[in-house]
Symmetry: C2
Subunit: 269 residues, 2 copies
Amino acid sequence: MTTQQLVAQIKQKKSFLCIGLDVDLEKIPKHLLNLEDPIFEFNKAIIDATHHLCVAYKPNTAFYEAYGIKGWQALAKTITYINKEYPEIFTIADAKRGDIGNTSTMYAKAFFEDLAFDSVTVAPYMGKDSVEPFLAFKNKHTIMLALTSNEGAFDFQTKKVGELELYKQVLETSKNWKNAENLMYVVGATKAEYFKEIRKIIPTSFLLVPGVGAQGGSLQDVCKYGLSENIGLLINSSRGIIYASNSDDFAKVAALKAKELQQQMELYF
Amino acid sequence: MTTQQLVAQIKQKKSFLCIGLDVDLEKIPKHLLNLEDPIFEFNKAIIDATHHLCVAYKPNTAFYEAYGIKGWQALAKTITYINKEYPEIFTIADAKRGDIGNTSTMYAKAFFEDLAFDSVTVAPYMGKDSVEPFLAFKNKHTIMLALTSNEGAFDFQTKKVGELELYKQVLETSKNWKNAENLMYVVGATKAEYFKEIRKIIPTSFLLVPGVGAQGGSLQDVCKYGLSENIGLLINSSRGIIYASNSDDFAKVAALKAKELQQQMELYF
């Protein structure tokens, strides 16, 4: 998917909502556990109920890997379902990968070709030659961790490297990498005050923003400082939507929660 | 596996060799491609031929994920085979994972419980709460990226953060985390001159050392500066061993290459 197609979808739906598909068998409605593939059935119900309200789905691969082969199969079925039924949706493999060159190429193939995701999240620690193999894929997007939403972000990311904090150094350095037009960044909503500074470095890049809802970040604050002229934000909510109810009505309640966020987003169009 | 058991194995075998099982279907002997599970058959042959010469096996998960479900199954069969046939061997899932707390716990379960690896590699960028969930597992080991063997290591890892380079800051900070006795670190052999400084910060921690062989690092230099009183090194070779031949004799030639390295290591006992 091109960035233009993503922007068009955002404008058409008046939404920049991303829904995190972080499926935990201990949290989904009990009646699904009797089905052959409870993870996929849960995702399918959530997707069918919310696809018109969001522009992206983001399965965090950890949740699938934790269930071994079955989890991996459920992930493959989920992405295939989205691509077939709702091809306009932008898909994100939240995998936070990063390795040396030839190995990063293997990861890129796994997510971009084998699973056919539109994008994958990567970690910056190993530098340019660990990320450029992802950037080489046409019409695929690489979403690099910059400033994350967790407490541990203060351990290294906000430490000064010369004149700049590490996360700013990551932005400054990476924007000169080959095919950097395929780069997006993860910036946590719990650190909304940082968006102003970030937009000075990367005024138009898309930012994937976790941390609204369960983690305490504010949609309004993020929009105030983070919006670009093409919106430039994908605001993620996982638990706040998919686990809003764990009864038979879970998909319907998830849609209501997604609708609440979409309506708040509509004000910015 | 406890660290004591790992050290005992090292002393008994007079080896601190780790063999990287990075299986690429384009590089393995053609005759294996007709078998039902070429990746597993390749690994099994390599393992059977080399287990007495090395103390650890390290599959890089990217290579398996790139083949989708089949790759994941081959990884599961490989680790199960090692644990059953050669339980004294230390196993490393080279996955370079890192995510926020509850997600890191899912990854830890995937590798430590579902797949039963002894250790997993993780990335430090997200800080303490992304790594401590791994450290909480008893007799399991978490191997954190410190200074990697690739060119991109100079993008961020060697940049000064206050008084210290980032990789030293990572060592200093992490050694105070909860259950830090379960921490090991990745330090690339291509940067052997750095080991002296690293040993001042972490004198006894085990270091996993990629980059000997194909990437140009020297075993002698690494040993000169990196050995601790309990050896404290796991020196990895992947391509230099497993792809030394791609004919029928591949396992035998791999064993010869492993033997060469083991004999160089024997001098340090």
